[in-house]
């Protein structure tokens, strides 16, 4: 793993982009790493575009600025691709994980990213609705991202989910994470 990895999350208020960023950060802390996780809000309202950032490093993080060249981009809501430049600044050999039923190749073409970029898709909304009965895609995207990048282990993610949620909800989320981990596909 690089010394510092930067991840950018795109979602809408209420979908859990900020939560996903925090869960990832906490998982990394369990693995002894240094982290930073912060949101960027526009209007503070459900449905408005929300961006969240995570930095994970082997060294203490001094930077306190936005992430301009993320290594990984995660998109929790496909419709954002129309209005938000989700792939902006993505590093040349970066990865992008999108919540979509479409194939990674189709998404890659729509995004217009260069060939080196690895595109992953996972039908996170379908998985979340099936298991959680709500379109909260945060944990599904977390599972898919873990599969795509291997930044943190599934065990660490499960540990933070267990800490964060009530027993029964945590268990449902384990199922969501495991399924999205399995179902995520790349180009």
């Amino acid at each position: 793993m690089k010394r510092t990895i930067e991840i950018r999350w795109h979602g809408r208020g209420g979908q859990g982009a900020w939560t996903a960023s925090e869960l990832l950060a906490k998982a990394a802390v369990y693995e002894g790493k240094y982290i930073q996780s912060f949101p960027e809000f526009g209007p503070e309202r459900m449905g408005a575009p929300v961006t969240a950032f995570t930095r994970i490093s082997f060294e203490p993080i001094k930077l306190h600025c936005a992430i301009y060249n993320p290594d990984v981009v995660v998109v929790l809501d496909q419709t954002l691709m129309k209005t938000v430049p989700v792939a902006e600044g993505l590093s040349e050999d970066g990865k992008i994980v999108v919540n979509s039923k479409d194939s990674p190749l189709e998404i890659k073409q729509r995004l217009g990213v260069i060939d080196k970029v690895e595109v992953w898709t996972v039908p996170a909304t379908e998985i979340a609705v099936k298991i959680l009965r709500a379109p909260i895609t945060s944990t599904a995207m977390l599972g898919a991202m873990a599969r795509a990048t291997g930044i943190v282990s599934l065990e660490s993610i499960k540990r933070t989910v267990e800490e964060r949620f009530r027993r029964d909800i945590a268990e449902k989320n384990f199922a969501v994470i495991e399924e999205s981990y399995r179902e995520a596909r790349s180009t």
Binding site: A25, K26, I35, F38, P39, K62, L63, H64, C65, A66
Partner: protein, 410 residues
């Protein structure tokens, strides 16, 4: 020499770190009003109260003005008090800030620095606390979330110290620190409780001719906050200034004592000099952006550039001597201000740094960079450009534009 205590690592954002520190400090009264980006402090603390994790009396007041008044009044009865605010909320407390310091009440307040309206902006800049630098409060600016946690604990000791007895505000950049989750090593609760101790009171002569602890107590009636005519007001203000002067040494001592327990230091507690010993060009910066500057300084040093940074941690009282000594041998200095003083030819920090250097024999070039207003991000590239400008000034041997704006669209 105490040994460093074992500490567990938590992932907390700035606001959560404040609430966690307050939880450990045995605070008697918290009176607060919510305002972005401080809301999480009060929400989290109210959870501790509801769960019975603290025995604090939690008062939801109708405004920030009332919140500070409630804290002041409680403090005068002997309670250890805390509140938090930002931006317009702090501005609304303006009158009471002066009353609190005039009454010598050691209230501790966390400010999640946010821009002032108008236009409305919820994001981070330091105009709110800079505008209160004359209010008689101690001001400490944190660079990262770990420092936020450490500084809140230290603030109670500093404020309550018998040589000081002044209220203190711990400042954390809005969103950049308040909402940023970072690794935080926390001390065990017993260690914190031992460190902050129980509040002590100086003895004062009351009108009944007895010496009694300075606090409102029916057993020892006394009058606090009276009227003072022109023949006495001035002397009371001079007393306050003396407390500020003594605070310089107290802040250093408390910081040192805390460093022995925690293993962490921030310069000498007043100033954090980074790679400044042989620096030819340097910036002066307060708050979290100083961290970004440190990362850039590391890169520049690796390229052979003699760059440095002076981070001012304690802004009030201003460590004038320390600033002069730290910057005297630097040849070109960029002072970064995250606030504006309209019509004042530069920001507050710019003025004060120039003031600190005025009497020194060497005269470095000093320029001002206004940055980050309304939450505008400052990138490492922009910081590099500042150092490039400083090199340009040294080459030309003069300053063409003393006041500049980082990332401003013309």
């Amino acid at each position: 020499m105490k040994s460093v205590v074992e500490q567990k690592v938590l992932a907390l954002n700035g606001d959560e770190a404040v609430a966690y520190a307050v939880k450990q400090c045995d605070v008697d009264v918290v009176a607060a009003y919510p305002i972005t980006p401080q809301t999480i402090i009060v929400e989290r603390f109210s959870e501790y109260v509801a769960n019975g994790e603290v025995e604090t009396a939690f008062i939801c007041t109708e405004s920030e003005h009332s919140a500070l008044t409630a804290c002041l009044a409680a403090s005068l009865t002997g309670a250890r008090t805390f509140t938090a605010s930002a931006s317009a909320g702090l501005a609304l407390m303006h009158e009471m800030l002066f009353v609190t310091s005039g009454c010598r009440a050691p209230v501790v307040m966390a400010i999640a620095n946010r821009a002032l309206s108008a236009p409305i902006n919820i994001h981070g800049d330091q105009s709110d606390t800079m505008a209160q630098r004359d209010s008689g409060w101690i001001q400490i600016y944190a660079e990262n979330v770990q420092e936020v946690y450490d500084s809140v604990i230290q603030a109670f000791r500093i404020a309550e110290h018998p040589d000081v007895l002044l209220p203190a505000m711990v400042c954390l950049d809005g969103f950049q620190l308040s909402h940023s989750m970072e690794n935080v090593k926390v001390l065990p609760e017993e260690v914190v409780k031992r460190f902050v101790g129980v509040r002590q009171f100086p003895k004062v002569l009351t009108h009944e001719g007895r010496f009694a602890p300075l606090r409102l107590d029916p057993e020892n009636p006394m009058t606090l906050g009276p009227l003072a005519f022109p023949n006495y007001y001035f002397e009371f203000k001079r007393q306050q200034e003396e407390a500020m002067k003594k605070a310089l040494e107290v802040i250093r001592q408390v910081h040192e004592e805390y460093a022995e327990i925690s293993g962490r230091r921030y310069g000498d507690g007043l100033l954090d000099a980074y790679q400044l010993e042989d620096a030819e060009i340097a910036t002066v910066c307060l708050g979290s952006t100083a961290g970004t500057v440190k990362a850039v300084v590391d890169e520049l040093r690796a390229e052979g550039v003699k760059a440095g940074l002076l981070r001012i941690r304690t802004f009030r009282p201003l460590p004038v001597e320390g600033i002069r000594r730290a910057l005297e041998n630097v040849r070109a200095i960029a002072v970064m201000d995250r606030s504006m003083s309209f019509g004042g030819h530069g920001g507050a920090v710019f003025h004060e740094v120039r003031h600190a250097l005025y009497d020194s024999e060497k005269r470095p070039f000093v320029v001002n960079y206004i940055y980050g207003l309304g939450g505008r991000d400052t990138s490492p590239m922009q910081i590099r450009a500042i150092y490039k400008d400083l090199e340009g000034i040294l080459q030309k041997g003069r300053v063409e534009t003393p006041i500049r704006y980082v990332g401003l669209r013309e």
